[in-house]
């Protein structure tokens, strides 16, 4: 089975983030700063990372998130592990 497309991955990330942090899905866009848009801190970002790892069945070292604050770049990091 081939890996999903980056757009599909991005969509899943946005859906998961919106659902878990109870933010309307339509308010999230790929280039948003997820710390600001979701209103989260680093502990909550680690929580999001754990959920994404479980969802995509990957291991994503948190140092890969260094300097990453938007959903699109996050999707690229995850896509590279699929």
């Amino acid at each position: 089975m081939s890996a999903p497309t980056i757009d599909h991955t991005l969509d899943e990330i946005l859906n998961l983030a919106a659902s878990h942090f109870k933010v309307p899905r339509e308010k999230l866009t790929p280039d948003d700063d997820f710390f600001k848009t979701l209103g989260i801190d680093s502990l909550q970002a680690l929580d999001l990372l754990t959920r994404l790892e479980h969802h995509f069945r990957i291991e994503l070292p948190d140092y890969e998130l260094q300097g990453v604050s938007d959903f699109r770049t996050l999707a690229n990091r995850i896509q590279a592990r699929l």
Partner: protein, 267 residues
């Protein structure tokens, strides 16, 4: 003392198990008050052990089991004292926390860590002293000390080496990365994974199971399979203190404490 309600932790006997609940806001950072109350618990443990078969350590804080040492307190003490006194204070703290960890490690009860969320640094070290680790699927583990120019100081390295292959230990220590419960189980750290929020319930079921067996036999088996690396633990304190003296550590602590942004727990 069968029951205790402290400012950072509480304990009580529940169905043949001692339940030690950590509850210091925001995420059970281990500073001097937590140390005092842990020492109180360690002193009470022999008496409590006569009433119970198992000990469960868990957290009631939403963010996780424990984020580790209270770095703000460590930084503050370093600022308030002259260097030699600060270093003596750090060594004293480490020796005292090692006393607690060693008492828990050697307890003739089956000890169970029920962890969730952030289980970092000193919190991870507290979980490692237990015989069995049960984690909910949102647990996340890390030794971030290298990010501050330090090594784990509460006994983490010798205990990690006791449990895991050296390659995994090197990965965790040298990258300072966090990892999830699937990885933790894969490398042999976590024995059971519970659904989110269910680690304590699963720990209670496990405590009930271990309570069925002869205590003396269980204690003998535990002492046989789980030696305590006393010499390495002492050496860890020495290395920590050597590193603590370096200016890079003071700077690392200062940056952590000054960070008002959203990313202090990210690498």
């Amino acid at each position: 003392m069968n029951e205790f309600k402290g400012r950072t932790l509480s304990w009580q006997l529940v169905n043949g198990a001692i339940e030690l609940a950590l509850h210091r806001d925001p995420c059970n950072e281990i500073g001097s008050l937590t140390l005092e109350e842990l020492e109180k618990f360690a002193q009470s443990l022999p008496g409590l052990g006569n009433e119970a078969q198992a000990l469960i350590i868990h957290s009631t804080m939403k963010a996780g089991f424990s984020a580790g040492a209270d770095l703000r307190e460590l930084f503050q003490r370093g600022q308030e004292m002259e260097k030699a006194a600060a270093l003596r204070g750090v060594r004293d703290f480490l020796q005292r926390i090692h006393g607690v960890m060693n008492a828990l490690d050697a307890a003739p009860l089956t000890t169970i860590a029920a962890v969730h969320g952030v289980t970092f640094g000193g919190g991870f070290e507290l979980a490692l002293v237990c015989d069995i680790m049960i984690a909910d699927r949102m647990a996340r583990f890390c030794f971030p000390e290298l990010r501050l120019g330090l090594i784990p100081g509460f006994g983490g390295i010798p205990r990690l080496k006791r449990d895991l292959g050296n390659a995994v230990v090197r990965d965790l220590l040298l990258t300072g990365r966090s990892f999830n419960v699937m990885k933790a189980q894969q490398v042999g750290l976590v024995s059971q994974i519970a659904a989110e929020g269910e680690a304590l319930r699963v720990a209670r079921a496990t405590a009930s199971q271990v309570g069925k067996f002869d205590r003396h036999t269980a204690a003998a088996a535990k002492a046989f399979v789980k030696p305590i690396p006393y010499d390495e633990l002492k050496r860890e304190i020495d290395i920590f203190c050597e590193l603590y003296s370096r200016p890079a550590v003071a700077e690392g602590l200062r940056k952590f404490v000054a960070n008002q942004g959203v990313q202090p727990y990210l690498p």
